[in-house]
Amino acid sequence: MKPRRPRVLTLSAKESLILELLVEGGELYGLQLVGASKRRLKRGTVYVTLGRMEEKGYISSRLEDAPADVGGMPRRLYQPTALGRRVLAAWTNASTHLMPEFAR
C-alpha cells in the first residue's frame, strides 16, 4: 500500500500514544497495544487508528512470520517508521516547550 502523506504532519493523542508504545515495545500487534495502553486505547478503534497511521507513513506493518499453532489467521505486527519516530520526537519536544511551566 502506498502511504498517503498529509501536507502538514499531525499527530493526535492516540497516534502519539501508539507511537510511544511502539518505540518502547518494538513490534506489537493491535491487542498488545490495547493491553499496553492501560485502557487508553480501545479495541474497537485501535485498528482504525493504526490503519490511518500506516497511511500517513508513521508506522509500517507486516504479517507475523510463522503461522501460529493455534490455527488462527496470521497477526499483523506494527512498528514505527523513521518518519514516525521523527514526528513523535518533534511533537514531544514541541509540547514540552509550549506547555506552560506549571502544567509540566
Binding site: 491487542l31 474497537g44 489467521m73 496470521p74 499483523r76
Partner: protein
C-alpha cells in the same frame, strides 16, 4: 471447523474493499482468533466467550467507522447500482416527507378551525407519531418507484435492505421513546395544564412494560376511568407494547416485499405503486383489525401485532424463492 471471526470476516468481505480488509478487518479477526484460542487452551471458557463478544463488538464498531468514513464497497459498485440505490433513497425521502405532511393536514385543519394557539409547535409534536407509518409507506413506494420496472443487482437489494435496517432502528427509537414524549407534550399543550395523565400511547416502552406488570399484579392500580374494565386496559397496554416492536420492524419487511415484487423488472411502475398502496392498506387493516380482536380478548396481543409482518414477510419470501428474483441476484457483482 469454523473459527471465531470467520463468519464475521466473510460478512465484511461483502462490504469492504480489499484495502480495508487488509488494514482493518484481518488484523482485528486475527487478534480475536489468537486471543480466543489462548483462552480456550487455558480452559477459561467464560473468558473465551467474553473475548468472542468483545471481538464482535469491536468488529461492528470498525465497520460502523468504515461506513461513516465512506470506506465500504460503494466504490466497487457499478454506476447503475449507485444510481438505482440513490434513486430509491431519494424517492423514499421525498415520499416520507410528503406523507408526513399529509398526516399533518387533518390536525392542522382542526387547529385552524378551533383557532388553537401555538399551531406550529403542536404540529411539531405530531410529527414523531406520523413518521413510523410515513417511513414504512414512503420507503415501500420509494423502492418501487426508484428501482421498480428495471433489472437491478443483488448489491442494490442489499443496499436497500441495509437502509431499511437503519430506518427500522430509527423507527424503534422514535416509537419507543420520542413519540410517547411528543404525544404527552401535545396533550399538555392542548389542555393547558401539566397534570394530564398518560394513556397507553403516551407511555414509553419501559413504562408500558412496568404498567402491565403492576396492573396484572394489582388491578386496583389501573387508572380510575379503566376500573370497570381492567382486562381491556391490560390488553390495550399489551397491544401498544407489541405493535411498537412490530411497526419498528415493518420497514425491513416492506423493503423485502417491495424488492420481491419489483424484482425482474417486468411490471410497470404504476402497477407496482398500486400494489404497494394495496399492501400498505392491507397491513394497516390487519393491524388495526387485530387490535379490536385483542381488546375483545379474542387474540393475544403479540399474535395480532406480529401477524401482518409475518404475512408480508411470507409473501416476500414466497415471491423471492418462486418466481421474481432475477438471475443477477445470484452471481457476484464485479469486484
Amino acid at each position: 471447523m469454523t473459527r471465531p471471526g470467520d463468519r464475521l470476516r466473510a460478512f465484511a468481505a461483502r462490504w469492504c474493499c480489499d484495502d480495508t480488509m487488509t488494514r482493518l478487518i484481518d488484523p482485528l479477526i486475527a487478534d480475536l482468533q489468537h486471543e480466543h484460542a489462548k483462552a480456550a487452551r487455558s480452559g477459561w471458557h467464560w473468558r473465551s466467550r467474553a473475548i468472542r463478544i468483545a471481538g464482535w463488538m469491536s468488529f461492528f464498531k470498525v465497520l460502523a467507522i468504515c461506513a461513516w468514513q465512506g470506506e465500504l464497497v460503494t466504490h466497487r459498485w457499478t454506476s447503475d447500482d449507485r444510481r438505482a440505490l440513490i434513486r430509491a433513497a431519494a424517492w423514499s425521502v421525498v415520499l416520507i416527507v410528503a406523507i408526513t405532511a399529509l398526516f399533518e393536514l387533518s390536525p392542522l385543519a382542526w387547529m385552524t378551525h378551533n383557532s388553537q394557539a401555538g399551531t406550529a409547535r403542536l404540529l411539531l409534536y405530531l410529527i414523531p407519531q406520523a413518521l413510523p407509518i410515513a417511513t414504512t409507506f414512503g420507503a415501500t413506494l420509494g423502492i418501487l418507484f426508484g428501482i421498480g420496472g428495471r433489472v437491478f443487482s443483488r448489491r442494490v437489494a442489499e443496499g436497500v435492505v441495509a437502509l431499511a435496517l437503519i430506518a427500522s432502528a430509527l423507527s424503534f427509537v422514535n416509537l419507543g421513546w420520542i413519540t410517547p414524549a411528543a404525544n404527552q407534550a401535545f396533550r399538555v399543550a392542548v389542555a393547558g395544564r401539566t397534570d394530564v395523565p398518560k394513556g397507553p400511547p403516551e407511555l414509553t416502552l419501559g413504562e408500558l412494560s412496568r404498567e402491565i406488570a403492576i396492573v396484572d399484579r394489582n388491578p386496583s392500580e389501573a387508572p380510575p376511568w379503566y376500573r370497570g374494565n381492567v382486562p381491556r386496559y391490560v390488553m390495550d397496554l399489551a397491544f401498544n407494547y407489541h405493535w411498537r416492536w412490530a411497526l419498528s420492524v415493518s420497514p425491513v419487511v416492506f423493503a423485502l416485499f417491495a424488492l420481491s415484487i419489483a424484482a425482474g423488472g417486468s411490471l410497470k411502475r404504476w402497477v407496482l405503486g398500486i400494489a404497494g398502496f394495496a399492501a400498505f392498506l392491507g397491513y394497516y387493516t390487519l393491524l388495526y383489525g387485530g387490535r379490536e380482536l385483542v381488546l375483545s380478548g379474542t387474540m393475544p396481543a403479540y399474535v395480532s401485532a406480529w401477524f401482518p409482518n409475518a404475512m408480508f414477510a411470507a409473501i416476500a419470501g414466497y415471491l423471492m424463492t418462486r418466481k421474481s428474483v432475477p438471475s443477477t441476484w445470484f452471481y457476484a457483482a464485479p469486484r
